[in-house]
């Protein structure tokens, strides 16, 4: 945490210089650069998506691009969905709950007009869901998993879920993965992942930093 706090206020260029990596010439084409840069700065060893970034501490690291008003600019990726097995996995044993049990959020200043190199790293803060927040997440999870189990995966749109949503997650639209239909027969679908809605993370930010609503 101390290490994460020490990064607060640095620009991406300064951090890259400290870490000893070059900034990408075209950042838009390297969307994961900021995440990798921070992981390297904080000494994240594991890159496997199944485990947390700091498994010994049980902490997952999440960058949070925010605009000038302190509002998240996009939803936050949580984890991929195994469309075949997820129907048998309840909330308590879910990878979503495991990943979200303790999250180290690192806000990144992301204005359109701000050059990539000058984007600042914000104050890191450690979040664990409160009972109310977990209830909302559990409700969304049960709802989304229920629909997957019912074979409605192809009808499932991003508007479902109050705090968490299910969205396609693949390199391009041609990628397919295994799933089951309503009768449990094998089928295929676009790979999906759980995301925290920007409104949900925005509320977390607002509470943590007393931002205007």
């Amino acid at each position: 945490m101390k290490r994460a706090l020490a990064l607060a206020g640095l620009t991406l260029a300064e951090l890259a210089q400290r870490v000893g990596v070059a900034l990408p010439a075209e950042p838009r084409r390297d969307k994961g650069f900021v995440g990798r840069l921070l992981e390297r700065a904080l000494g994240v060893k594991s890159s496997a998506s199944a485990v947390q970034d700091f498994p010994e501490l049980g902490i997952e690291l999440k960058t949070l691009p925010v605009d000038a008003q302190g509002k998240p600019r996009e939803s936050t990726f949580v984890c991929h969905v195994d469309l075949v097995r997820i129907a048998d996995c309840d909330w308590e044993r879910s990878r979503v709950r495991h990943k979200l049990s303790r999250v180290l959020f690192l806000p990144i200043e992301t204005h359109r007009e701000l050059p990539f190199a000058q984007r600042r790293i914000g104050s890191a803060w450690l979040w664990s869901p409160s009972a109310d927040e977990e209830n909302v997440l559990r409700h969304d999870y049960d709802d989304l998993v229920g629909r997957i189990a019912a074979g409605e995966i192809n009808e499932l749109r991003a508007h479902v879920g109050q705090a968490m949503q299910l969205r396609p997650k693949a390199a391009h639209a041609g990628v397919r993965t295994r799933s089951n239909d309503a009768e449990g027969a094998p089928a295929s679908a676009h790979p999906r992942a759980f995301y925290l809605r920007a409104s949900f993370t925005g509320a977390l930010l607002q509470r943590a930093f007393a931002l205007p609503e």
Binding site: A8, G9, E14, V66, R120, G122, L205, A208, F209, L211
Partner: protein, 607 residues
Amino acid sequence: MSARIRILPSALADQIAAGEVVERPASVVKELLENAIDAGATRVVVEIADGGQTLIRVTDDGSGMPPEDAALCVQRHATSKIASSDDLFAIRTLGFRGEALPSIASVSRLCLTTRPAAALSGSRVYVEGGGAAELSDHGGAPGTSVEVRDLFYNVPARLKFLKAKPTESAQVGSVCLRAALAHPQLALRVVRDGRATLDMLRAPNALARVQAAFPEETLSSYEGNFDGVNVLAALCAPEKARAGSQHLHLFVNHRPVRDTTLARAVAYAYGSVLPPGRFPAGVVYLELDPAEVDVNVHPQKLEVRFARGRAVMDGLTRWLAKRLGTAAWSGPSARGNDYWTQRLGTSLGTNLQPHASSGGVGGFAAPAPLPSPAADAPDPWGLHGRTGAALADRVAELTSDLQPTAATPLLGQAGFFSSLRVLGQARRMFLVCEGDTGIHVLDQHAADERVRYDQLQRAYNERELKTQRLLFPERVECSEAEALAVETHQAELERVGLPCTRLGPTTVAIAAVPALLCRAAPARLLRDILVELDHAGERAFGDAVDMALATMACHGAIRAGDLLSPQELAALLVSLDAVHDFRGHCPHGRPVVCSLPWDDLERRLGR
């Protein structure tokens, strides 16, 4: 060839020694006054001519001396005040070195006449330039008179270092004033070139003497003790403080002293309301066991050394701080008092305000105020709640030649501010309020600053200073020295709720600000606080923190120009009542409120 070592003639040795004791006419007067007081005098007359250069005469009604003592007293190291080295460590007299008279006699023409009350006749001793003493019989009143003529006549080099005659006369006046303050029971008259410039009658106690000595000052008095030290203090409001400590008169066991540390201890008691380098005007008397004070530090005996120096200083600061914070420096300022005395032929009374916890004197009974109209009474003029230039102009007109007074005595009363009815906000700067005793104009920034300072200080002391982390730390570009200062003071900054890190050689980041200071601009706040923390070397760290908190309160407070809602106005008044101390002053010492009593208003308007 080098000069040979030789024993100096005694006259020359006396002149050299005189250089330490007799610096100027005022030092002669000081020594002679001390002798008179040690001789038990109840009345002393000091006469000087030409700034003391041609004549100094000190006449007392003390015990006098028999002829043999009179002849001895002008000899070096002849004294009746101590006898053994043990006496040196418990000195109860003002003089004790046996140096003053021979030193004075060595650089002037000295004539001493003295007669014990019981003797039929007296003696006269005449010494010229340190020569042999001529003793003769002399008739005269009981007591002693020492006449010093042509000071430094035989040491012209010393004459060159004397200031202008009025300056030397003023110095003599200061010495006499300090003696008068130290000894209230002493009647003291100072005659300068044939004109009486100071005439102090015997006073019943020290506070009465202080009041007589400083009729123009509004002082608040406190009496008590701490840790075996008796204290009596009469001090001015922070806004009347002076640059330099010459108006702060300090006495240790009735001995006037000039002690920078002691003066600082008094100034520190005001906390942040007194900026560094400023000292209150007033008087502080300390009385403690003579064995705990060493007065034998310098021939002039203006400096003292305490056996428990640190404990006495800290104790005095703490003792005074407790009392000053709730003092109600009251009454019109000196000029205001004169104004009414001259125009109406009535005095508003003494300016010495006893503190509630002390048994001091003074205080005046104000005429019973007329009841103010009920809160729900009709407002035919539409004044209530009015905001704007017209109201401001009217208030300015009514208060134009009033001094911005110290807080009223009512300030000390619980619930004073909450009891005020807000009439409006003038120039988005002042709150105009009506109370039982008159109209009160509050400076909105100073008032809010005091409230925030109090909250910050309380939270700091209770280690509950809540901070608000900034989503993106504020980057501050600064000089390398400032960045280094941030690094150096990192712990202190964190303690005052402003955690910072150094990002680069000339870049620092402010990670959070105290939650109470949502209005503050973090970068400016940091720069100002660094200045205050840099003063930590001059003041104790606690004072530096006080100053830092004061700066923070100032940055976060309501500003002049802010329009306040009725709810905000009411909340501010209620918060002021909850303030622990100095509720009448902002943390930097400016008064929060200026009052115009109803009777003054009625007089001004001819009612």
